[in-house]
Symmetry: C2
Subunit: 584 residues, 2 copies
């Protein structure tokens, strides 16, 4: 266990960051009012522990409100991951604290401890929705306008140096049921040990049902969370695309692969979104304009990134951004001036066609050589149908077989051109269109962003809202879900999730060093539920079990995109629905 | 004749510039005190003309002080160029004024009019030496500290739209004696015609001697005036290295070739002099750092520039700047980041050796392939001998046969490594060193810059000082002369020669559109004198004409680099010396 608190003051960049080896770190201070000593002094002298709820972000400086429970029981399919949260609270500091979990056993059957992840839940600074409560978009230049607080979200290591006096410290447990586990009731022990206190113990009990959830790469759910490799290089201060960079990305992208992600986010130009994130995306393709006016392209970076992600298990689709960026300037290295230069042109202009037409022809050949052409799409987002039509023309001229993706409002006039069409939350595909798309093997998904107050995955969002998303996708007959930012980290993402725009946590779902989050784990739960619904529905349909199908539809009707999620309680809805699901 | 005054206000760059076709243009206003109407009204009503002196920059708004002369007589060698200046002055405006020169004839022998260039001399804004009178270096952020005035320097076309009321307008005549002219006394007529006045006429008489000056490409004088192609592209607002760019450079570089220039100025990195000129020099070689750390180089621009200059007739040497720039950062296109990046390292550092060692090896191969290796040098200027020694090590490691150039103070310890060594004005090569260098075929020259109050080629310098330089080179047994700027133009070089640093005219000797200058033509005179001295000395030595050799040495002794040129009169010295020279 690492004893030394390693905080490296990055003087050069003028900010506090973590050293490479991710030793323990100091959280920011929560200045919100909280339980005072008199409240804390009412609890026993020895550290307390109990099972809590994975639906709650326990306040760090309050005595948790819960009735003490020693045993957590859940049901799970073979192949499923289940999450539980325990809570430690103490009026005396604890040091060198460590969680261990035993094997889970059911008679002679064993779920080995290696299939169980335990994490101390760490706290990160967050803010809140916009004051009108209707969303979280827009710039936030003055942080003081939005109230800030520390919330439990980071799923840290199972060791922590210190739990301070008068502190609540949650513990997150994830059990991965092996695909080939025997059904049965598995039992084990969670222990918390450390210096100066007796080991704390909890019982864990998982009833494994005789149903199988396939492994994530076989999930039908089309998950598209946009990766930002540039943020990882910057955070870890390693050269882009170096071995150290890939080493730093590996644990981060592992979480994504394990969530069943289908899409590699690739960028084929400088700043597709005009640098809206802390680290702008750059071009993974070098475009060189020779002195004689001809173009040369280099795919070394693109290939290396794609191959890395494919090795991680994310290999179904490569989405290439973008032909219509948010600022219409297109980068290239200019041999004459020995400088980066930019073509400024809009779809329909001759200069636009020259820049993109030439590139796309070459890109098509390259993709075909690599055997990737059929899984690659040229991708646009949130642009007008007129601009889209011009861009589509250029793409089709370069290679009529190019697949095209779009995320944005539903536009009937371009729908048929789009292989992968992701529409905004609240919009529906016309039923006949969805059916035709399905038949044609086209992808039809839904996205959320800063616009939605609820459901969302801000660091302050109730955890169940992340699960709600999977249910919503199932209810709306979407093929999956897209979110524009998986890891566009803020400057100091482990400590402060607030950003210069949007509500805190909008830019990333997971943390450096492969630390997952309550949000990410609960999102995966929803995806698992989507898969379970799909499998059950297929089974019921095969068996013509109309009663069960009706029951399923009734449950799903709770997850329509209406205003209800604002007034209703996503947590209650998800819990009620899952109870039905696991009862089938 | 172009009638329309074309002044294009370059709104984008916020400055006034000339349109591409170099029509007539407005000079800036001279606000210095000058002759008033009462003085001007004393001259006759009709325009006046007379031969003047090529030593004088006639004031534009003063009645010239001269005794009217109708015939100009001079002596010239076959192959020589001779310059004369006439002056027009008028109290009534003249329009559509044009100079024509007849053929010069001597019996049946003819020097055709095509060998005679006539130019109206135009006025450009200048400033002055530093206030201590000791030089002209340093920044000049506040132009008002240095007195400004308009001086005659630009050798414009032989047509001018208008000579205004109360104006002096000089005329410059250059006669190029053909190599195969018969000796004799050639006579012709210079005519000035226009609207509303009788033609003005002057007689021109050149006695061609029976001696031959070789053509410039055969001159021994090692002339090294640094070219700046970037200034030409910017001034004419044409893409770098485009046909239009080369078209614009052609007349400018033609003057240089005709002056016997030996050296092509090439740049192999970004900003060798940290951008000290209006247009910084950039790298003519693209250096690409591949993702795997290997380097790739592209010589398209370098080759195109060198081949262009060679076609212009400047083909003896290629000087490549520089391994030790004034700011130690070295450019490359980085494939990983898709950006220009810089290696910051100093000679002796591993990163320096990696950057330069790899490049120089590749460059050597390229130069050998092109057949240019033997005439290429890696070039440094004004750096310490310690840094030089480190750089030399890197060069020798890459290819022990690389030639190396240096311009700066004389350092004994590195002298033997330097193929082309140019030392500062006032310094001398030890006699044995010079002799050994000569024997080894090495070049040993001298340079002036802003340090010298006199001799210099500022726009306000007395014209004879430019000629003095050639005599100084002969007197000091230098092989030639270097000046750091041939055409590093200011923002508006035709109108304003002042710059943010140094005295006006320091950055350029010639003007856009191939307009030469009084300074440039007088510099060439000195180079011709150097050649004539060399030829005469060889003849005298062959014939053991010790008397004549003594006489030559006595004349040359006037041109030593001492403080005398400050107190003495360069014009008188040059005229006296040339009289002796043409008397041999």
């Amino acid at each position: 266990m690492q004893r030394i608190l390693i905080i490296v003051l990055c003087i050069l960049c003028g900010r506090l960051c973590l050293s490479q080896n991710a030793g323990d770190y100091l959280e920011l201070t929560d200045t919100k009012p909280h339980d005072d000593e008199s409240v804390w002094n009412r609890i026993p002298a020895s550290p307390q522990i109990s099972w809590g709820s994975a639906d709650i972000r326990y306040a760090k400086l309050n005595v948790p409100e819960l009735s003490k429970t020693n045993t957590w029981k859940t049901k799970a399919w073979k192949g499923e991951r289940v999450n539980a949260q325990a809570v430690i609270w103490t009026k005396n500091a604890m040091s060198d604290v460590k969680i261990t979990v035993s094997d889970l056993t059911a008679g002679s059957s064993v779920i080995p401890a290696s299939q169980i992840t335990s994490s101390f839940v760490r706290y990160v600074m967050t803010d809140e929705l916009n004051k009108d409560g209707k969303g979280a978009c827009g710039h936030r230049p003055d942080k003081s306008v939005w109230d800030s607080s520390m919330v439990a979200d980071v799923l840290y290591k199972p060791e922590i140096e210190e739990i301070r006096t008068y502190t609540t410290q949650p513990v997150w447990i994830t059990v991965r049921i092996p695909q080939h586990a025997h059904p049965g009731v598995y039992k084990g022990i969670v222990s918390v040990s450390g210096k100066g206190f007796e080991d704390l113990k909890l019982n864990l009990e998982v009833t494994v049902l005789n149903r199988v959830l396939p492994s994530p790469e076989e999930w039908a759910f089309h998950l598209d969370l946009w990766q930002n490799p540039y943020a990882v290089a910057r955070y870890h201060d390693v050269p882009l695309w170096s071995d150290a960079h890939f080493d730093a990305m590996r644990p981060v992208m592992k979480i994504l692969a394990d969530a069943g992600q289908k899409v590699i986010t690739a960028t084929i130009m400088y700043k597709p979104w005009n640098g809206q994130t802390e680290d702008h995306f750059d071009s993974m393709v070098s475009k060189v304009k020779k002195l004689n006016g001809s173009w040369e392209y280099d795919y070394t970076v693109f290939d290396k990134w794609v191959e890395f992600m494919m090795r991680m298990g994310i290999d179904k689709q490569i989405n290439c951004y973008t032909l219509i960026p948010w600022a219409l300037k297109f980068d290239y290295f200019d041999q004459a001036t020995n400088r980066m230069q930019f073509v400024e042109a809009k779809p329909g202009d001759a200069a636009y066609e020259n820049y993109w037409g030439s590139f796309l022809k070459n890109f098509s050949s390259h993709l075909r050589r690599k055997g990737w052409f059929d899984r690659t799409t040229i991708t646009m987002d949130e642009r007008s149908p007129e601009a889209m039509a011009e861009a589509i023309k250029v793409i089709r001229t370069a290679d009529p077989d190019f697949k095209i993706s779009f995320a944005g409002n539903y536009h009937e006039e371009i729908e048929h051109d789009l292989y992968d069409l992701c529409i905004a939350y609240g919009q529906r595909f016309p039923e006949d269109v969805k059916a035709a798309r399905e038949k044609a093997g086209k992808i039809s998904t839904v996205y959320t962003c800063c616009s939605e107050a609820r459901p969302n995955t801000f660091t302050f969002s109730p955890p169940a809202e992340a699960t709600w998303i999977g249910w919503h996708a199932a209810a709306g007959n979407y093929d999956g879900y897209l979110r524009w930012a998986y890891n566009s980290w803020t400057i100091d993402p482990l400590r402060d999730s607030r950003f210069r725009t949007w509500a805190a946590g909008d830019c990333y779902l997971v943390y450096p060093y492969g630390y997952s989050s309550i949000r990410m784990e609960r999102l995966i739960e929803g995806i698992q539920d989507y898969e379970k619904i799909r499998i059950l529905r297929n089974g019921f349909t095969d068996k013509k079990a109309t009663g069960k199908l009706k029951k399923l539809d009734a449950v799903l009707s709770m997850f329509a995109a209406d205003e209800n999620i604002g007034s209703r309680n996503a947590t209650d809805d998800v819990n009620a629905a899952r109870k039905v699901l696991n009862g089938f």
